[in-house]
Symmetry: C2
Subunit: 491 residues, 2 copies
């Protein structure tokens, strides 16, 4: 069978694009930079959403919905925020079309110009804090713990499916607190939620830490992030949680009376993950045959392919398989018995491999006679023939094993690709040859960070929460440094 | 306690607005016509979404996501569609802001003008059928059964929370079929899904039928609808399912090779319900004390309010209540034990009444001694004192009873407000005095429909599927008619 994907070693970037398209995850649309998420890709995203939503609710958050459009003037109210977000965004200037007087379709009606232009939200801090002003009078109204699942738009020039698109889907949490401590605690809680989700569901190990000042969210006092490592040795920022201090409360005049009756500005956080996680999921685990999905997020966990020639043979197989399907479903395992007759088994094998289904069973005449079934694992590509009796329990255990194995593999890969470097020359060389995460000393200045970025394209991904105190000197300037930070080239 | 709501008899419209605001369902935003759905309102919408999504998946549909923005030229491709949707819509003309040279915030960058303007989707037939062209080659690619949950925008001049807003949330199903019969079957299946949902979950009885030609979706050959009756005697269209024939396939050149190898255009349907359902839910059941929610959609089904003075009393009550809460949760019943100490029980009673919680329990010292608990029903406002032992089973049965009772009440109301009329004078009079649904003969012409609408503001809500064959004459023109249609004033 011809390979449907470019191999990773040949062209990693092309492999990714091929995979996203061929596995029916997403495609480009007629609108520049906007993607179409196809049903199979969306089913994975829905599984992610369901788990994250549960984690948000378990930590006391509620969902709400705020408007898509933001008055232009709102963006200017927080000085840093406007610099970060007002620049590349979609601007609504009119609210009506009319028939073209020359008879060529429709044209914008010049009489329907908005007094103030509206921006399609690139993020919702401004409209939400403008709303919170009316929701908050006293400490009794706090905390507010809201999340929204929404589409947002940032007019990106170079786009890639899932990784960087003009429109993307995400969730954005926006919380309001009476004290700085509580807001900081929330910021930390949510980066931990993201970390747990990435590791336990996506099977993607992540580093947790602070962003440097220059990489912070526009308007934040601190940004925490989770950083994952892709198979090409590049880092991917998978989620961020921001401590916003009182910046947005001051910009939108949101004050509350505390228990002592004194007025103060409200403390804020915001945090989000997006369909970018799909990119991380795909690139962390998949191989030259296609997707490799962690069982906990796979839309189909088990596929069963019958091998037969005549209708009677299929009937006999179905009689054996139907109760197995029912039992697997009752165990909460999603299973598909693909008895469609318009494709050959070989085609089906390749298709489900491409789509990353964790476990594939195949059963034919011989198996029926022997009471066996063939089981193939997507993660290791290994096959074995097993007794059909009790196969459900074997599968249940195997799904857990696959989940753990995929995570361990990614963890080993990251360990192998994490290098301590102390010289800038070594750093530059290894960045090209070995790639991955580099732990190095940095003098803490934005100038040095900028110079390294300009010279190597590597950025500081984070200052890890668990970085050990260690006396050292900045690999570029030789100035003193107290701990190593994580450098990498990044998506 | 002062009434927080205007009464329905005093001013129905004001009552509705009061209720939506005071029960924390939604509020207006800083952007004209765009609402903020508050956490409590959104929780109801999430319950609706969950049930509908399950029903869609049970009937073989998959979710996907298509772009927010639509190229202006797409709207012109289907002649009827452009007339219906191109007129009042939000138009994106630029993709960048820049700092105001005069130092006053940001302004639109005139250099960042789009070559072709983009429209925020008012509905997605055009962008979806433009996509389906690439997905469909042969009958093997059919049917395509996609749904998307999304925000859409129609620039309404007069807006009302949930009922008519510029931006609203909805789902839109878009299916593609090889045959006309299959597409018609799908159109019917989905209006039945909506009808089942309205009646079995929202407890709102609905009429199912065809829209007249002039009320059809722009681009459809037939539109099926469900129509509900509100307490003020006005109708509300709660969901529609459209048979689109081959109109969009022709407009976007979507052909397939059938089993015989002959090319044909693909057959289409689309169907949707929106946050407008929230308006229907609110107006169908609620009273002058607040919301009345059907248990199947209530975010909190049972609230328990402790009556106590001292901390020790609360402790004793909590010790009795905690296992009841645990048991109710294990039975799948959502329950809140409101032991907050910053509000008095009377305030809590009024608050949960306002928010429509179906069952309220109250328990104090005396109850503890007697082994009793006070139970109040939101739908009937009746109270009784019951033994606390076995209260969980009582509640489980009661929730079913309340669900059934709310539906029956709405059904009785509709029966009472449904009138057969044969004379136009009588029709005009009863439309003012009695209101509701009117079953009348109509000659089948758009002119008569239009004249009646202009003279009375009543419209034909639907031609019911189950309308009996009956010889009659049009109440306006006296021309012959074969069946009665349903007239009403409508939202």
């Amino acid at each position: 069978m011809a390979k449907v994907l470019t191999s990773r070693s040949e062209n990693y970037s092309q492999w990714y694009n091929d995979l996203v398209m061929k596995a029916d995850l997403a495609e480009n649309s007629a609108v520049r930079g906007c993607m179409i998420i196809k049903p199979y890709g969306y089913a994975i995203w829905e599984n992610m959403q369901a788990e994250l939503d549960k984690m948000f609710k378990d930590t006391g958050h509620q969902n709400a919905y705020f408007p898509l459009l933001i008055p232009k003037s709102f963006l200017s109210k927080e000085a840093d925020h406007v610099e970060g977000f007002a620049k590349e965004c979609a601007v609504v200037t009119h609210y009506r079309l009319k028939n073209d007087p020359n008879g060529r379709g429709v044209v914008v009606d010049p009489d329907a110009r908005l007094e103030e232009e509206l921006i399609i939200r690139p993020t919702s801090e401004t409209i939400i804090w403008n709303t919170y002003r009316n929701w908050i009078q006293s400490y009794r109204d706090l905390p507010i713990l809201c999340n929204q699942w929404a589409n947002v738009m940032r007019w990106e020039m170079r786009t890639r499916l899932f990784l960087r698109t003009a429109e993307f889907l995400w969730q954005e949490g926006h919380t309001a607190h009476a004290t700085k401590e509580e807001a900081l605690q929330e910021t930390e809680q949510m980066i931990n939620v993201y970390g747990d989700f990435a590791e336990n569901f996506m099977a993607v190990p992540v580093l947790k830490g602070h962003k440097t000042e220059s990489e912070r969210f526009a308007g934040a006092l601190d940004t925490y992030c989770i950083e994952a490592l892709m198979q090409d040795g590049k880092a991917l920022q998978a989620g961020t949680s921001h401590f916003l201090g009182q910046n947005f409360a001051k910009a939108f005049d949101v004050k509350f009376a505390n228990k002592e009756g004194k007025e103060d500005y409200v403390w804020a956080t915001s945090w989000g993950v997006s369909t970018r996680l799909m990119g991380a999921l795909i690139m962390a685990h998949s191989d030259d045959n296609g997707l490799v999905l962690p069982p906990k997020l796979a839309p189909i966990q088990v596929v069963i392919v019958p091998i037969y020639r005549k209708a009677e043979e299929l009937e006999k197989i179905a009689a054996k398989i139907d109760p197995i399907v029912a039992k697997l479903k009752s165990m909460g395992i999603s299973v598909k018995f693909d008895d469609s007759d318009n494709r050959k088994p070989g085609w089906k094998f390749a298709e489900y491999e491409l789509k990353g289904v964790p476990v594939r069973l195949a059963i034919g005449n011989r198996d029926l006679e022997n009471g066996t079934i063939e089981l193939a694992r997507r993660d290791t590509l290994s096959k074995e023939t097993l007794p059909i009796d009790g196969i459900e329990e074997v599968i249940e255990k195997l799904l857990e094993e696959i989940q753990a194995n995929i995570f361990q593999k990614a963890l080993d890969f990251r360990a192998e690709k994490t290098t301590k470097v102390d010289s800038y020359d070594e750093f530059k060389e290894l960045l090209e040859t070995k790639t991955g995460f580099f732990l190095a000393h940095w003098d803490g200045t934005a100038e040095t960070e900028e110079q390294i970025k300009n010279e190597t394209k590597a950025t500081i991904r984070c200052i890890p929460f668990d970085a050990e105190e260690e006396e050292g000197v900045c690999m570029l300037t030789g100035k003193p440094s107290k701990r190593r930070v994580v450098f990498a080239k990044a998506y």
